[in-house]
Symmetry: C2
Subunit: 106 residues, 2 copies
């Protein structure tokens, strides 16, 4: 997967899909953080919120890796986890799409 | 300060003052966290909230150290930072109170 070539048009499609999924996850995280914060009553619940935010931050930073060498597996995981649809990636060449589709099912 | 003796009555007073200051700080932190969370709009603000919570957690854990060997300096800092009043410590012997009062002004 490291030797795949990305055309300029594919890079535009990839960037858009990547940013869309990232923004959706960030907005969902903000929404969930507000919900959790509003429910906090005890200090232990506050530190649970803190741990959860730290985990979310690390998780998102880790999974959203925009290096072309790993992008197909990044997309496969985003599709697998429901953050992207294969349709969002239409326009990538068939080899990349097929790999993403196949890996997403594993 | 390491050789100060604590009577049973002093331990009760110390524990009560310590817990009172800690609970007040925790409740104030919960209040502030809710306020900050409600204002979050951008992902960067969410991670600022996360960093702030991590810092608050570390700060509180570090300052609230209930070992008798360090308790006078812990109390001096709580008085200095406005989390306790000297009156909250009435009943401790005069030597401890005087040290706490003096250190709190430094």
């Amino acid at each position: 997967m490291f030797d795949l070539k990305w055309s300029q048009a594919e890079k535009v499609i990839a960037r858009r899909a990547f940013d869309m999924a990232l923004q959706k996850e960030l907005q969902a995280t903000i929404h969930e953080a507000k919900r959790r914060a509003a429910k906090v009553e005890e200090p232990s619940e506050l530190w649970e919120l803190e741990s959860w935010l730290t985990e979310r931050r690390g998780d998102i930073n880790r999974r959203y890796d925009y290096r072309y060498s790993v992008l197909p597996i990044v997309f496969a995981h985003l599709v697998r986890d429901g953050h992207l649809k294969l349709d969002d990636l239409q326009g990538l060449d068939s080899e990349k799409l097929e790999r993403i589709r196949r890996w997403a099912t594993l």
